[in-house]
């Protein structure tokens, strides 16, 4: 029997992997993927909560609608983000974060 805790565990694992990816990887594309991973970890936890919040023999669909919205917005966001990365690469010939340090004192 799969319980809410299992969902949350997977979600937490995914989030941690994503966070670690963001923290440790140097390539912006990879960081971006890791970021998406974190977003989907959140989605997964929402779906899990929705599945186990039974009212009148039905799960709470509000959360699932949220998830659709998040996926839609994330798709748009990916388009913008990747466009920025492409533009950045064109300008600086690099997508490594060590090379992108001009915004500092």
């Amino acid at each position: 029997m799969v319980t809410l805790n299992d969902y949350l565990l997977v979600s937490g694992l995914l989030f941690t992997i994503g966070f670690a990816g963001v923290m440790l990887r140097r390539n912006l594309i990879i960081i971006y993927m890791a970021l998406e991973l974190m977003l989907n970890a959140a989605n997964l936890s929402l779906v899990g909560f929705s599945r186990f919040n039974i009212q009148n023999n039905l799960p709470d669909f509000n959360a699932q609608v949220f998830v659709f919205f998040i996926i839609t917005v994330a798709a748009a966001e990916v388009a913008v983000g990747l466009a920025i990365i492409v533009a950045l690469y064109r300008a600086r010939q690099t997508t490594h974060v060590e090379d992108l340090t001009s915004l500092k004192f």
């Binding site: 966070f19 340090t101 500092k104």
Partner: protein, 596 residues
């Protein structure tokens, strides 16, 4: 209610208003209007003078329990002052027609003169402090306007400012004094206060402070030390103004006021000592300064200061009647002296230096003889007016303490000395300038007032004449010592001046200390500059370091400082930001979930 006091008071005001509003372009009509107004006032004074003591008036402001009365108080003091102010004022108005004949600002001049008459009569008639104070300020304004009559001359404009500002100092004290009296007694009427002031059960310090603050007003207006500096400069005004305002009437207002509110000083006799000291200092300093001046009007101005000092000292000696007696006689002969000086100045084309006069004896006989008579009256030569009035003060001084009598006698010695010097240098000997050679007697409109003023200057002090005008005068025992000393110093002063200045072409004695008026004016100039500088430096400091530096730059600086500190967090490493962000989220979660 008796209408006469109101006629006396408001006639000159109506004239001033009509001149200011309608007849500015008709100088001749303006001058006649002004003279007519003061003539009507003078005629109205006569029945009042002969009539009984009376009082009357109405409430000027009447709001709830707060009342400001407006009324007249006619008693011996004010009767005498009314006579002096309107009588001398009338003669000086007439004289002004001649003296100001070719002045372009004649209408302005006569409007000012009429305004002054109104204000001065307001002081004299006032039966309460507020009315007196309002009039007091109004004479200050008209004095300012008249000193600055020739305002295109920088010195005249400066003198007018100086007179006004110095008077403000005294008037400020006067106002505080009035407020103290009013808050303690709830009354402003002189008669009311006189009867209940002593019984109010106030602390001696309060009594003394009220009396001395009121005395401040007199110090300013009567040009007593240390506020005497404005009076000599006020001689920048036209000579009739000097005669009327700065010799005969306005400057005497302080003495009149002191006599009027003498109960304040009686309540705390220690204040009388202050009054006496100030009076004596003024008298002595001014007499010494007068010995070394060269400007005929300035000599007379210092002489006025000195005589005012004597009057104030008279009040300080607790003989206000004697002080008023001297005020009364002094008004006539000092007005005469000034008008005589004006006559000389007029015929010498505005020459005021006595060393550029001389030999006027035969060219200006009327001026010469009336001036001589007034000089004798001023130096206290019997039987002329000054002798009797001065003698009563000298006698009181000797009766108090020989030292005080001695100081007064020294003053009298110098009075005799500098007046003889003035007379000998300006009138006798030979002409020392072109203008003096071509001098001629002034027109009758100027000489007749001299003759008319000469009569009271000669006779009004006589023991059987004076009480007619000053019913309050007490007959005192003749003090032989005082008279002998007075006569001795008089003769000594006259002889000394004769010996030193007869047929001299320039002053053989030069005492810079006296010539420069004890450097008091310079000291004040420095003092004003110093305080100004110190104030300016302080406000500059506050502005630059506290407002600009502390508040404005401080606010900017705090923001800048936070920015400076916080920008060290911007290290430019994306992963570090993420790490910090994660740390922040963990901290927040901890705080939200576990710490509460």
């Amino acid at each position: 209610m008796n209408p006469l006091p109101w006629i006396i008071l408001f006639c000159p005001l109506v004239a001033a208003a009509v001149i200011a509003l309608f007849t500015r372009r008709l100088p001749k009509l303006s001058s006649y209007l002004s003279v007519a107004a003061v003539a009507v006032s003078f005629l109205a004074v006569l029945p009042v003078f002969a009539g009984p003591d009376q009082t009357g008036g109405f409430n000027w402001v009447d709001v709830g329990s707060f009342r400001i009365p407006f009324g007249y108080l006619i008693d011996g003091y004010s009767k005498m002052m009314l006579l002096v102010v309107t009588g001398v004022g009338l003669l000086i108005h007439i004289y002004s027609i001649g003296y100001m004949a070719d002045d372009r600002g004649r209408s302005r001049y006569f409007a000012g003169l009429s305004l002054f008459m109104f204000s001065m009569l307001g002081i004299v008639l006032a039966n309460n402090f507020v009315m007196m104070f309002v009039s007091w300020e109004l004479v200050g304004v008209s004095s300012y306007l008249l000193i600055g009559h020739w305002f295109e001359r920088a010195s005249a404009a400066d003198a007018a400012n100086k007179a006004f500002l110095v008077n403000r100092i005294g008037d400020f004290g006067f106002m505080l004094g009035i407020l103290m009296i009013w808050s303690a007694s709830g009354s402003l009427l002189f008669t009311d206060l006189a009867s209940k002031w002593a019984g109010l059960n106030l602390s001696p310090a309060y009594l003394a402070a009220a009396a001395l603050l009121v005395f401040c007003g007199a110090v300013g207006k009567s040009a007593q030390f240390p506020l005497h500096v404005w009076l000599p400069d006020a001689m920048e005004g036209p000579t009739p103004v000097s005669a009327l305002i700065h010799a005969a009437t306005m400057v005497a207002a302080g003495v009149y006021m002191l006599a009027r509110v003498f109960f304040l000083f009686q309540a705390q006799p220690a204040t009388l000592t202050v009054v006496l000291t100030i009076g004596l200092i003024t008298s002595l300093l001014a007499a010494l300064m007068a010995t070394q001046q060269d400007d005929i009007k300035r000599i007379l101005a210092y002489s006025t200061l000195s005589q005012l000092g004597l009057m104030v000292a008279g009040v300080g000696l607790a003989v206000p009647q004697a002080a008023l007696f001297h005020l009364f006689t002094h008004a006539f002969f000092k007005a005469l002296l000034f008008l005589g000086a004006g006559s000389v100045i007029h015929s010498l084309h505005h020459e005021q230096n006595i060393w550029r006069m001389g030999g006027l004896q035969h060219k200006m006989p009327v001026t010469f003889w009336t001036f001589a008579l007034a000089t004798l009256a001023l130096i206290g030569c019997p039987p002329f007016a000054g002798f009797w009035s001065k003698d009563s003060i000298v006698a009181a001084a000797f009766a108090r303490q020989p030292v005080i009598g001695g100081v007064v006698s020294v003053v009298n010695f110098f009075t005799a000395y500098y007046m003889t010097r003035l007379f000998v240098v300006a009138f006798l000997g030979h002409a020392r300038s072109q203008n003096a050679e071509h001098a001629h007697e002034s027109p009758p409109v100027m000489t007749r007032p001299l003759v008319v003023l000469a009569i009271p200057s000669a006779f009004i002090g006589l023991p059987f004449v004076a009480p007619l005008f000053l019913p309050f005068l007490e007959h005192e025992a003749v003090a032989a010592l005082a008279i002998l000393v007075s006569l001795a110093v008089l003769v000594a002063g006259v002889l000394a001046a004769f010996a030193l200045y007869r047929d001299q072409d320039s002053d053989s004695i030069r005492i810079p200390l006296f010539e420069n008026r004890f450097y008091i004016d310079q000291f004040y100039n420095r003092l004003v500059r110093w305080t100004q500088d110190a104030l300016a430096a302080t406000s500059a400091f506050v502005d630059r370091w506290i407002i600009d530096g502390g508040i404005i730059r401080g606010m900017g600086g705090v923001t800048w400082g936070f920015g400076f500190a916080l920008r060290f967090l911007q290290i430019g490493n994306l992963q570090a930001y993420v790490f910090l962000f994660g740390l922040g989220v963990v901290l927040l979660l901890y705080l939200v979930l576990f710490a509460s």
